[in-house]
Amino acid sequence: MAAIVETKGLVKRYGQLTAVKDLDLVVEEGAVFGFVGPNGAGKTTTMRILATLLRPTAGEARVAGYSVRKDRRSVRRAIGYMPDFFGVYDDMKVWEYLDFFSACYEIPPETRRRLVGDLLELVDLAHRRDDYVDALSRGMKQRLCLARALAHDPRLLILDEPASGLDPRARVEIRELLRELQAMGKTIFVSSHILLEIEEICTHIGIIEAGQLVATGTLAEMRQLIQSHRVVRVGLTGRIEEAHAWLSGQSGVMGVEPVTGNGEGDLEVMFVGDDEALAGLLREMVIAGFPVVGFREEAGDLEDVFMRLTKGIVS
């Protein structure tokens, strides 16, 4: 598959701050690329550069084969951009909003009417056609913004945190919409600071931290990476120091750290291995006579685990 987004040594500096550091990124056509990283990692900056809204300090970025520096118009024609805020005019009606942006994409008036109807149908807002944009719920506004980004039938969608601030139901709706769009053959470049949020729909994932891409690959590759590194929290009523030393010597254990703050006294064990091996470790621990009261895998925040691991890989 051909790459629709390609950056080479992309750098963006704001004065002293380097928001994006030497970023090499490839997104293949037809992929749903999840761009994950904590707040301030450089996700929005990268996306704004790809949307031709920011000029890179150094390096090159190509979207659909066009340079974001030199051929901005062609890039703009190829992308639909949705920023991390709604960006709606308060005194516009829903259909006027889409009509206005269609006009901005040089779509002739004759075809606009039909197009607006189709777009509203697609994002399930046809029944709110004549309402003011202001009167819509957050989820509806987000869907309207997505419809706007689709007005000129772009090949690539750049969606910055599309699910942030939405209730679970609206989140599911957006996810379903993205699935539908992928089925229509669009490439989707979507960012989030929560991996779980977009994990389900992504075919590829890239992890960015402090302006650098720390890991990238297909979802299967990433899953493997995540699953081979597990974090287990072990609760003990005593002999903590002893258990720390004992655990460090066991096979499959990559590291042991005492938990600080909330849940102090527990141990956090980095473990490589499958469920069988993990069960074996618990058995061994009990046999060795440690007073174990808790033994659970920290699976709640997958991304949190991932961030820690990727940090380990880099350093």
Binding site: R48, A51, T52, L53, L54, R55, R73, R76, R77, I79, Y81, P83, F85, F86, G87, V88, Y89, D91, M92, E96, F100, F101, A103, C104, Y105, E106, R148, H152
Partner: protein, 303 residues
């Protein structure tokens, strides 16, 4: 002209803003435009009475009508020519800054709209809002003379941009017999209309430029007025400096006291040159406006 119309029709920003303006409660309906032909008719009537006949009685009647109508209409002219240029920066300063504040500027920039059509569309929309006033000002131009008399009284106080075609007044007051008096009157009328329009253009452009730089509407509007005042002060200094320079170049002898107070007086060029200096100011202002709008587009392009 047709090209301009096409560009306006094809500019989504201008189209949408026009829709918004038309929705406003104060926006005058079509009936408002009936006002304009009536005004035009009155002015033409007076003009015909003054110019088409040599009969003394008719002329006196024309002057009397002009004087009676002239006071209220002149006041209106004076009000419009003072108010319009000072409303414009508030309108233009709010445009781009508002879009940026709402976060919609990025959306517009991400579309195929060029920076030029964004800025010109917004500017055009502001001009549409002022259009009833601008049209009225143009049609009332025959009443500039009375307007300038009214304005002239308060010009020092209220920065009225139309109140200093002094040359024409000097000629009217002192040299009524001179053969140039009609030229000077016509010049005063044309300048009296052009000057507020030029001031409006420059002030609007200053507002637009400030708007492109600003992040919030409030800051943009305040900064725009600051910039407009600074620009006015600069222009005033420039013109005060240029006036004596012109005299010096054209007729250096005028600075010789013996010559200035001689029986023949200063040459005729020097006599009516001051009337044309405001024309220069008008040109400078329009040129400045074009440059500032260009600058605004350039800055927006830089991103």
């Amino acid at each position: 002209m047709i090209g301009l119309w096409r560009a306006a029709r094809g500019n989504p920003i201008l189209q949408w803003e026009y829709q918004r303006i038309r929705r406003r409660r104060w926006w005058p309906g079509r009936r408002f435009y009936l006002f304009y032909p009536v005004l035009l008719g009155v002015a033409l009537g007076i003009g015909v009475m003054l110019l088409a006949t040599d009969e003394f009685g008719v002329r006196v009647a024309a002057v009397a009508i002009a004087a009676i109508l002239g006071l209220p209409l002149g006041l209106l002219v004076w009000f419009l020519s003072t108010a319009l240029p000072w409303i414009a920066p508030a309108l233009t300063a709010a445009t781009i800054a508002r879009e940026r504040g709402m976060g919609t500027l990025d959306l517009l920039r991400a579309t195929l709209l060029t920076e030029r059509s964004i800025v010109l569309g917004k500017l055009g929309a502001c001009m549409i809002q002022l259009w009833p006033g601008i049209l009225l000002l143009i049609l009332l131009s025959p009443f500039q003379i009375t307007g300038q008399l009214v304005g002239g009284l308060g010009s020092g106080l209220c920065l009225c941009p139309c109140a200093s075609s002094d040359g024409a007044f000097l000629a009217l007051a002192l040299g009524f017999g001179t053969e140039y008096v009609w030229v000077l009157v016509a010049l005063a009328v044309v300048l009296g209309t052009l000057r507020p329009l030029a001031a409006l253009a420059l002030n609007a452009a200053v507002g637009m430029f400030v708007s492109v730089l600003s992040r919030s509407t409030g800051v943009a509007v305040a900064a725009a007025y600051g910039a407009v005042l600074a620009m006015r002060a600069f222009l005033w200094l420039l013109m005060s400096f240029m006036t004596p320079m012109f005299f010096l170049v054209l007729d250096p002898a005028i600075f010789d006291p013996a010559y200035a107070y001689s029986v023949s007086g200063p040459s005729q060029v020097v006599q009516w040159l001051p009337s044309f200096l405001p024309l220069l100011e008008v040109v400078v202002e329009f040129a400045g406006a074009v440059m500032l709008v260009g600058g605004a587009i350039w800055w927006l392009k830089r991103g």
